[in-house]
């Protein structure tokens, strides 16, 4: 088990990088604490696989340090770092039994036979594959094979961390949640540092206590699933988390807050105060579709808008409204009734109205 620290890390696949666009990872500092369950979440091309390969030792970073428990490991191979990896496609020796697959990493480390047997048995029980121990791996289903892949990481008691790279890709949808549950139980039981790479917010949020969202080679937020949903730190997190993503509206400064076209949006006093201290003109307000309120009647803080479209998704409805030429998505429950083209009155509860300057959240100073 180890704490993994990335210090002033940057990586370019080019030998002569020019600008920031040549970097897969741009200058970042990050700590994965010992025993944590983490996810690295982002779209394809965001740098998450590069980051994983740097932690495991498959890729040498072009700048910065990788520290395991404070010790620089940049030059160490994956094997010497004691990192176990589980990939998209199960890596098992088809011709060997499940037992031999699980025992393999231990046999290489000169561990006594009796100890190996006990440990393999223990891990097989945790993974609920003890009845398959003496079967050839090639006769297993995809999810059983993936459990064996995980088991090979778990058997080693000296393992520093287990890294998962989209491990559920080949698993049947109906079985995915069972494996997710297994992974969570394993983490609770073994207390090993685990980093799970995925582009799927469901997998990330279910597995991890904390999620690092990557975008453009940087970690734009490191937070709990609740924080990512309620307090997105960057417009990209607002967009990427949640379905549909956050409504983001370009605005400019005005007397009591901000405005777009002729629509005035009031902000909290502290938001106005912070806005006066910043000079950037790249200002946006953000509000999630779940938090916009629609009402058939007007009141003091409502804006009159038009319903442009309504998608019935069974358990809920996505209503597209237009306010002063600005389209927004609103998520309503399945009982919501409204006619396309009709008038509605919307409001932005202040608690959920976020302010972004240069794409980053303007946060209240504590």
């Amino acid at each position: 088990m180890a704490e993994i620290q990335l210090k002033s890390l940057a990586h370019s696949y080019s030998d002569t990088p020019g600008g920031p666009e040549d970097y897969a990872i741009r200058q970042l500092d990050h700590v994965w604490h010992e025993g944590g369950a983490y996810a690295l979440l982002g779209p394809s091309g965001c740098g998450k696989s590069t980051m994983l390969n740097i932690i495991s030792g498959l890729v040498q970073p072009s700048e910065g340090d990788v520290l395991f428990d404070g010790k620089r490991v940049n030059e160490l191979s994956p094997r010497d770092r004691n990192i176990a990896q589980v990939f998209q496609f199960p890596v098992v020796y088809d011709s060997m039994t499940v037992f031999d697959n699980l025992a393999f990493p231990l046999k290489n480390n000169n561990i006594p036979k009796s100890r190996i047997k006990a440990r393999v048995q223990e891990i097989a029980e945790v993974l609920e594959i003890e009845d398959k121990l003496y079967k050839k791996a090639k006769n297993l289903t995809a999810d059983e094979k993936q459990k064996v892949s995980m088991g090979r990481g778990l058997v080693r008691e000296d393992v520093s961390a287990i890294l998962f790279d989209e491990p559920l890709t080949v698993i049947d949808p109906q079985l995915k949640w069972k494996l997710r549950r297994k992974l969570k139980q394993i983490h609770e039981q073994f207390d090993i540092t685990m980093v799970y790479v995925t582009h799927d917010q469901l997998e990330a949020s279910t597995f991890a206590d904390k999620i690092a969202v990557m975008y453009g080679g940087q970690i734009v937020q490191f937070g709990t699933p609740t924080e990512l949903f309620e307090q997105p730190n960057h417009t990209f997190v607002g967009y990427f988390i949640g379905s549909p993503g956050m409504n983001l509206i370009e605005v400019e400064r005005s007397a009591a807050g901000v405005r777009f076209r002729s629509t005035q949006v009031d902000l909290a006093p502290w938001q106005i105060e912070l806005l006066t201290r910043l000079t950037s003109k790249n200002i946006k307000i953000g509000i999630r579709p779940e938090f916009i309120e629609l009402s058939p009647t007007a009141s003091d803080n409502t804006y009159q808008a038009e319903i442009l479209d309504m998608e019935d998704l069974g358990t809920y409805k996505i209503v597209t409204v237009q306010l002063d030429q600005q389209e927004m998505k609103v998520r309503m429950n399945e009982e919501f009734e409204g006619a396309i083209g009709s008038r509605t009155h919307l409001s932005f509860p202040q608690q959920w109205l976020k302010l972004y300057v240069d794409e980053f959240l303007v946060q209240e100073q504590q």
């Binding site: 779209p43 609770e188 917010q201 469901l202 699933p225 993503g245 069974g314």
Partner: protein, 364 residues
């Protein structure tokens, strides 16, 4: 313009892939085939395209029997899971390729390629090569090639499966808008209930090669003909609870007793399956007669804006769906409430006998 499948069956070496399918698709319609893997979606589309010949039955296009017609003789486009493009030629030439094959005039080719590229938002990429594009851009290119020739039948075989979910969300919305204005027949295969709901149009539920149900998407969703249809068209699947109705009460799994209130009073004594959608189970009662159950959390799955909680006790195993992020530890005790007025009821032969009346839409 319409395409009709008449008693269509297809199999190889004694394995049936399509069993006696009867369906009609109209021009200007968007039709979703929803089913698990190996339910017959791809096989059915290959028959429609003319890539395979049925063992039995006929394909009727505009009243004409086209069963034996080859794929070349039909005006069909097909889009696959894998992004299939010609790597050696530019995006422009990829999109133009079916038109060149049809020996269309150069000016008309240029007009159509540019128009289709604009529609799919890939105009700035026309001079680039497919392998230099992201997955989403490659799939847009493949779609543009399929749409450029104005096919009368456009078949999509899980086209978004290899893209990340944000891109899927965007392309799905674009597709829906795109086909609103076209007069062709679009058929779209998917394994995901939520995708079928998002795409709208008509939905055909397939299972083991057979058609389970077919109709406008919301009609099928609100009144699934049997327990299988209910589970196929619900993600996570609809929860099913066994129950026995007597003159005075219903006993769920011979364990949890409930008076026959509201609509349940119409049920005649006997054994039933009661279905409840994950989104209808709540953490607080909404009505006096909600069924209270003490459960334990098996896993709480968070999708970003929603939470799916797998709950169980010695009798029941269910999934509930909540708005927002809710964190629960595995093993945490939880009290949940099932609304009696939102239960679907199926008889012992698993056929639908009652749909909840208080769910909006007013059609059931």
């Amino acid at each position: 313009m319409s395409l009709t499948l008449e008693n269509l069956s297809y199999g190889v070496d004694g394995v049936d892939y399509v069993r006696n399918a009867n369906l009609t698709f109209q021009a200007g319609s968007f039709n979703v085939l929803l089913g698990r893997t190996l339910s017959g979606k791809t096989s059915m589309m290959r028959l429609m395209a003319g890539l395979d010949k049925p063992n039995e039955g006929r394909l009727i296009f505009n009243g004409q029997d086209v069963t034996g017609l080859s794929v070349q003789a039909r005006n069909v486009s097909m889009i696959y899971q894998q992004f299939i493009n010609y790597p050696g030629i530019t995006v422009y030439e990829n999109i133009a390729s079916p038109l060149r094959l049809a020996k269309m005039a150069e000016s008309e080719i240029d007009r159509r390629v540019k128009e289709t590229a604009a529609m799919l938002q890939i105009s700035p990429l026309l001079k680039r090569y497919p392998l230099a594009l992201s997955g989403g851009q490659q799939q847009r290119t493949a779609m543009a090639r399929a749409l450029v020739k104005d096919a009368t039948l456009v078949l999509f075989d899980e086209p978004l499966v290899n893209l990340d979910y944000k891109l899927r969300e965007e392309l799905r919305a674009e597709l829906r808008d795109l086909f609103r204005e076209r007069q062709c027949i679009a058929v779209y295969a998917t394994t995901e209930a939520n995708e079928a709901l998002a795409l709208g149009g008509t939905t055909t539920l397939l299972h083991e090669g057979g058609v389970i149900q077919n109709g406008p998407v919301m009609d099928v969703y609100r009144a699934p003909v049997n327990t299988l249809a209910a589970q196929l068209f619900s993600e996570p699947p609809m929860n099913m609870i066994r129950g026995r109705v007597t003159d005075t009460e219903v006993a769920f799994d011979e364990y949890s007793h409930h008076a026959l209130t509201q609509e349940l009073s119409k049920l005649t004594p006997g054994d039933y399956w009661f279905g409840v959608r994950p989104s209808h189970i709540a953490l607080a009662p909404a009505n006096d007669d909600d069924l209270e159950m003490s459960m334990e959390v098996a896993l709480s799955e968070i999708s970003g804006s929603e939470t799916f909680i797998h709950i169980d006790n010695s009798h029941f195993e269910m999934v509930m769906q909540l708005m927002g992020v809710h964190q629960y530890h595995t093993g945490a005790p939880v009290k949940v409430y099932l609304p009696i007025n939102k239960l679907f009821v199926f008889d012992s032969a698993e056929k639908l006998v009652h749909t909840p009346s208080r769910i909006s839409g007013g059609t059931v």
